[in-house]
Structure formats: C-alpha cells, structure tokens
C-alpha cells in the first residue's frame, strides 16, 4: 500500500494526507505490530522447539529444564526409540506409515482427477444431482460412514490389513479434493479440448495430455494434503489395525505414551514424535507457497 500512496498522482482524500504527514507515528505502529506478532509466534513455537531440544537431552535433564539450551546434547533417545524398546518398534511403524500414505496419495490423485474430469468436462445423466450430493458429503460427519465401513471391511475379512485405510482413496471418497479439482479444471479454457478433439484426440488423451499437465497446481495441493492427512490419521488405524506389527507412527506414539506413563522414557518419546513431524515440516518447507496459496484460495484446512 505504501507504494500506491507514494506514486498516486490524483488528489488525495484528506484522511490519507493526514496519515502521510505523520511518518514517525507510522513507524512506531509498525514496530508495535511486528513486536506483537513476534511475541505471539515465540509463544506458539516455543513448545515445539522445546520438544526438539528435549529429544536431544538425557532423560534426567528433560523435566528440570525450561530452556532450550543444554550443555550435553545426545542422540541416544533417537537410537533407543528407533531400535525399539520392548514391544514397540518404530522403524516398522515408519515403514507402515510411509506405505499407507504413499498409496493413499497415489489413489487419491488418480481417483479424484478422473472424477473431477468427469464432473468438469463430461455430460451424463443426473450430473447436477450427483455433484450436489458430493458437496453435501463435505459437511457430513465421517462417523456416519465409519460404522458401516467397518462392518463392510469386517465382512470382507480385511481387518488388520492396510486395505481399509487405502482402498477408499482409490474410490474418490475425499469429496473436498474432487471439488477442488473440478473448480480448477472448469477454469481451464475448453477451447484446448475442442482443438484436441478436432485433431482426433479421445477423452483419455485429452485428460492425460491436456488437463493433467495444466491442473498440476491442483494436483500438487491434493497430493500434499492427502499425505498430511493420512500421515496424521489416528482414528482409521486405531479402528482397523490391532496387530502391532501393522501399526502406524501415531498408534506407536500413543502406545508409547500409555506404556511409559511416568517420565522415564519421555526422551525417546519426544525423539520419535519429532521424527514423526519431520516429513510434515520437510514438505512444508519445500512446498510452503503451494500449501498456503492452496488454503488462501480454496479453504482447505
């Protein structure tokens, strides 16, 4: 806004002229704003930093210390957490989580983009009704389908497999991402499709050669958020995976907490918790712009 007022040649309204006359005042306001924001940020992020620091400290020091700095850092907690103490085996949980998340992302990308293409570009009977139903499921609490889905997968004998956690993603049940992609594809000029059709392209080649490459931002956003959601998912694995060999990281962390209860191995707990957040933070740092634009323009949370 500063540049705008500075370069604008038109006569200014009196209030703006008044603001410009008092530059010192504005600097103070700006300093105040920044200080308030920084104080809030420090308060918010301190617990996270403290956890990372605690994961690098010997156990006896964690609880006595409020600060982040320590005289002796150690990676013992990571080693003991990773190699497993007793019943818990975090290396396996990480592998399980990666498998489930990766397959879910693949499934969601294929299914949502195909469904979205159909809604955005094809004509078929009941399209409007089906689209309205799709939007309706956005506000539907997932608990309604939780019980019947569990019964279904139970009947199919798929409890204690990854199938219940992955299969729904291949059936485009994440209405939000379908919606996101429909909106995106609708905004693409349909002249491109028409031109391709004249050149003899069928739906499949229009989809793979024109729509998909142009919809990459929407696909990227969908992929990232699918990963984040499945990586953090707790209820799904809690219901479907009782065999501890199949546990995901969130289940492992929860079991760890219940097992330790006391304070003896909070160090390894925090080490594994930090490690479980690392992929999220990594993706966040790499794709921060894409993520934030995605939220700002589409309202994903």
């Amino acid at each position: 806004m500063t540049t705008q007022t500075a370069t604008s040649a038109s006569p200014r309204p009196p209030a703006m002229a008044r603001m410009i006359k008092r530059p010192t005042n504005r600097i103070w306001i700006s300093v105040l704003r920044h200080s308030v924001l920084i104080v809030i940020l420090i308060a918010m992020l301190y617990p996270l930093l403290w956890m990372v620091a605690a994961s690098l400290r010997p156990n006896n020091e964690i609880f006595s210390s409020l600060g982040i700095l320590s005289s002796h850092y150690t990676v013992d907690n990571y080693v003991s957490g990773w190699t497993g103490n007793g019943a818990l085996n975090f290396s396996r949980y990480f592998v399980n989580s990666v498998i489930i998340s990766a397959l879910s992302v693949v499934g969601n990308l294929i299914a949502c983009s195909l469904t979205a293409y159909a809604f955005a570009r094809l004509e078929f009977p009941l399209k409007r009704l089906l689209f309205a139903l799709l939007l309706g499921t956005l506000l539907l609490p997932y608990h309604v389908t939780l019980v019947p889905q569990y019964i279904l997968f139970n009947k199919l004998g798929l409890i204690n497999t990854f199938a219940p956690l992955i299969a729904p993603h291949f059936l485009a049940t994440d209405a939000f991402f379908v919606f996101l992609m429909v909106q995106f594809i609708r905004a693409l000029p349909s002249d491109l499709d028409a031109a391709a059709r004249i050149d003899g392209a069928g739906h499949w080649s229009i989809f793979t050669r024109i729509i998909l490459p142009l919809a990459l931002p929407a696909i990227g956003t969908t992929g990232l958020f699918t990963f984040i959601n499945t990586w953090n998912d707790f209820l799904g694995p809690l219901i479907y995976l009782s065999n501890s060999q199949l546990w995901t990281v969130p289940l492992g962390l929860n079991a760890f907490l219940d097992a330790t209860g006391g304070q003896s191995s909070y160090g390894s707990l925090f080490a594994m918790a930090t490690l479980s957040l690392a992929p999220l933070v990594g993706f966040f740092v790499a794709f921060q712009r894409l993520l934030i634009e995605g939220i700002a323009t589409s309202g994903i949370k």
């Binding site: 308030v36 940020l41 403290w50 139903l133 506000l139 539907l140 019964i151 059936l171 309202g299």
Partner: protein
Amino acid sequence: MVGLTLGPMIYSLYLAFTKYNLLTSPQWIGFANFIQIANDSRYWQSARVTLLYVLISVPVVLVVSMVVALLMNASIKFITGYRALFYLPSLLGASVAVATLWRQIFGDSGLINNALAALGINHASWIGDPGTALYVIISLNAWAFGSTMIIFLAGLRQVPQELYEAASVDGAGRFRRFWSVTIPSMSPLIFFNVLLDTVHAFQAFTGVYVISSGNGGPSDSTLFYTLYLYQQGFTQLNMGYASAMAWILVVVLAAFTGVLFFTARYWVHYGDR
C-alpha cells in the same frame, strides 16, 4: 464414490434401529436405541462437553485469527515468513506427536507447572483436573488457528481500498471503519470459517483421545461425542447404538448448517458487482 458414502449412510440409518454386535446378525429393535440414548447420562455428558468445546473454541479461533490477520495485513514486510510460521502449527496440530507434547506440557511436572514453580506457585496436573482438562484440549485447537487466519488474511487483501477511503472521508474512525467496512466485506469468509470450524470442532478426536488416554477422563470431563461414539461402537461393539449416535450428530449438524444458511441472508454480504 457415491456408492461408498451413500450406501453406508443408508445402511447406518438401518443399523440405528437395530441391536448389532458384529457376531450375530442385526436385530430390529425400533426406537430402543434412541430411548436408551435419551436416558444415558454419559451420552448427555458427552453432548454437553462437545457443545461447550464448540462454543468456546470456535469463537476463540475466529477472533484470534481475525486479530492476527489484521495485524499482518498492514505490515507487508516479512509477510510470507510470518504466514508460514503461523501456519506451521495448523499442519502439525492434528498429529498424535503434538498431542503427546501437550500432555507433557500440561502434565503434573510439565513445562507450565515447572514455570509456575519457578515463580513459587505449585499447581497440580492441568489434565488431571476435571475443571481444566477440557481447556487443555481447547488450547490445542486454538494453537492451530493458522489456517483460519490465512483465509482471513487472503480476504482482507481483497477488501476494496476505496471503501476505506470513502469511509474516512465520511469521518469514520478506525473502529467504525473496521465495523462498517471490514466486517461486512469479510462476511462471506467469516461465514465459511464459522461453518467449517464448527463442523470440524464437532468431530474433534485425535487430541481428545491422546490427552485423555482414550477414556474421556478425568470424571468424563473430556468425554467428547466422538470419543463416546468410538467407545460404544468399537470397544463395546454396540454398532447399532453408535449408528444411532452418528445419525443424531448428522441431524444436529444439518440443523446447525441450515440455521447458519438461513441467518446468512441477514449478515453475509456478497459484492454487488
């Protein structure tokens, strides 16, 4: 997609009128589940806890998000950095990792109590106290206000600058400009955030489960609706009862959404162009 949502929904509606424990086939019992719910004190406790949570945490998140978005809207410097850092907790807030951290922070000898002890105040566990346990969970949700804030921030930048200038010319002060220009211009986004945050708040689960060790304690003070539904359905295998609970939630959320949409015509303003 429709098959996997609509089919189960109808099946779930049927189950709501049955007694079913997965082992024997569902047995039609009419409205017995609903009558039992009406007389179930734990059910009402869970409804009360959830409602209290929604009524406190949604407004807190909305107000904090709006205030921070307003603070950031004017100061352009480092805005991408601020946005990213404020958003980070939203990304992590739904994870078990952060919930375990919260359990430590607010626990008996956690970060907060250690800080208080340094000031000479001794306090017991915030999670073990039925009076404060719910607020620990509310604070976890409020901590992740970043995504709501980013939506507000994006909206604030769309408010036409001429409106502020016109209001200033008419002698409107800072507060008046906020109330008569910013709020109406932002009303579609406020509507959107109220709707989504409320629907999400009704379904809070992960943090609740981890912080309360899965039992909704102490003395059911954090027995959320979803947690009680989980207990009924998946630890006691009362699938019919759980389905009935799920359908009551659907009706409540539908009613809430309906009321919100109905009131929208009085307070949500879409641009006239």
